[in-house]
Subunit: 335 residues, 2 copies
DNA sequence: CTGAAAGCGCTTACAG
DNA sequence: CTGAAAGCGCTTACAG
């Protein structure tokens, strides 16, 4: 910046002004500065700017993984909302590991983000404490927590499970099952487990057996996991009629495994998933699923953040349920 | 930090030392400081530290998208290599948009990353200039450029295309096609187009017709894109025997569309893809594809960076070809 | 082993 | 409309 100011023949203060709010400066001065900036290829140092202005322009985003299309959609939505607002996303992912969440959070905090966005509901005691002490807006997304730290935008995974079970019950099935990862593994898919809890609860309320609800293998779920869990379930419960998979990923794997086992979907077994992944629309039969608009969730979070950060007031904590929607396709029939 | 030093009864300098290299400080002093840090929940401000030490600890990573499992694998690999090395990835994605690449690069540069990693080969003039002027190591990944800016770790998409065509020719097919997005769209998939170029070249060298090489629809490719392109190609060239899709995503879409059209894979048409995505292993028939180890690519990049940043010397630019490998599964047969 | 001084490259808050 | 001074929260480079 010193070089720029020398070349333009103005003070460093004037360079700073031209770069942050050109309107404040006389056009002739302004142009000299722009020319010097261009000639030198000068890019201002935001680290110094952040320290000085006490505004880093960082928004921290912590997700379990980037490999999941729905979480990626959240990141895209957030980016879209933030575009033009001059915030930079600081992305971290935990690989579904709570200890890693804590470690990452500390790293993130050291960068002094102006807001923190993370998947909600499950945090270690220490992580929660750090979050509360952070003194910046915290938004928990995706999973709606029973006790939000501050703001929350998401949906209830428990309701996903109940909705799925209700849907299958309404189709007239009586022998209903579900597949998910075992919560005993090295990593736990808390969101999937919540869906299972809701699913089982709805079955119990309908006085149906939960014997077909199978926790199998380790998280995170995948196509392959779904295939293996499906086979295990069908071997255990040969007369099962309808299955809910906690993710479209495992549901698609289940459909593929069914083909290999010469089971017809949905004539022999109905299958539904969760998440409305693109692949579910393309397979044969197309997958019935539960849809949550993750991109919109990210967008909404971003917009809320922009408003929040623009105002001086500290608004009351808010919780927004973005809801969910059953997408009926061909993989579930009426009994 | 001032609060910590007061509480511990030492100078701020001592606090700084305890936090960066505890060995330098007497155990009794050290413990007082640790206690004060814990009591206050103090997290050092890296923005200030960066400015002062002239080391931000940021490594910039710019990718076309986060939604692609292979690019996500690169990011994971990089993270894995950097774990413990106390670097923080600053991730940006361009959505396959060259203008956005330039904009993002400027944002990234303002954060003073200590190294820049980005997908190679295609950059705007301005972006290239900024990269050369950046005065930090630049690593181009995935796509091996003909004229690397500095370091490069990746593979040749042109070779992918040639390898695919060679493989199908060796199986004895004569009526061979390919599907990709049209480069005329709003965004261009340069990598896919390179694969197509290599594919066409190999066909030409074998004196085969390239009439079955179809560019259809807009990038980025997807399951749905593959389904549509496959249908279009088969309608144009009903006697096509074997097809290369520039991505497993479109290849899987093609297999699904074939099922809907009652075409048997591979008895009626053979299909192969690129990228070895998980879904390709699960579908029926399993997909023959070309595999590149993207996680290893990310790992290798990260390790190279750690070495590079640890040494004072400026090593000569290096180019590493990680190669590729055909994975034979059931979707291609011998003619 | 510990601390006082200077400074990183900006912006804030004044002053003129 | 422009500039000189002070300071953001750390680390570097000395000194003792």
């Amino acid at each position: 910046m010193r070089d720029v100011s020398r070349l333009a023949g103005v003070s460093r203060m004037t360079v700073s002004r031209v770069l942050s709010d050109p309107e404040l400066v006389l056009p002739t001065t302004r142009d000299k500065v722009f020319k010097a900036v261009a000639d030198l290829g000068y890019v201002p140092d935001k680290t110094a700017g952040s320290l000085s202005s006490r505004r880093t322009g960082f928004i921290a985003l912590m997700l379990p993984t980037l490999t999941n299309a729905n979480f990626a959609a959240v990141a895209h939505g957030l980016t879209d909302a933030l575009r033009g607002a001059d915030y930079h996303l600081l992305i971290a992912y935990t690989d579904y590991d709570m200890a890693e969440e804590e470690r990452q959070l500390r790293n993130l905090l050291a960068r002094r983000p102006e807001a923190i966005v993370l998947t909600g509901a499950m945090h270690r005691r220490n992580a929660s404490r750090m979050l509360m002490a952070a003194d910046v807006p915290v938004v928990e997304i995706a999973d709606l927590p029973s006790q939000p730290i501050e703001h929350a935008i998401g949906f209830s995974n428990y309701q996903v499970g109940r909705t799925a079970a209700r849907y299958l019950l309404d189709r007239g099935f009586t022998r209903i099952g579900a597949i998910a990862a075992s919560p005993e593994g090295e990593v736990t898919d808390h969101r999937g487990e919540e869906r299972m809890r809701g699913f089982e609860e709805e079955l119990r309320l309908a006085r149906r057996s939960t014997d077909g609800v199978l926790r199998h293998g380790t998280a995170p779920v995948s196509f392959h996991h779904g295939a293996a869990a499906f086979r295990a379930l069908v071997e255990q419960q040969p007369d099962i009629e309808a299955i809910f998979a906690v993710s479209d990923l495992s549901a698609v794997g289940a459909v593929m495994e069914a083909q290999r086992m010469n089971l017809r979907i949905p004539q022999d077994i109905s299958i539904m998933g969760f998440g409305d992944f693109e692949i579910g629309r393309e397979i044969n039969p197309a997958l019935t699923t539960i849809h949550v608009d993750f991109h919109a969730l990210g967008l909404r979070t971003g917009k809320m953040l922009v408003d929040l950060l623009a105002s001086d007031a500290t608004p009351a904590p808010s919780t927004v349920d973005v809801g969910l929607r059953i997408v009926e396709r061909a993989s579930v029939r009426d009994r």
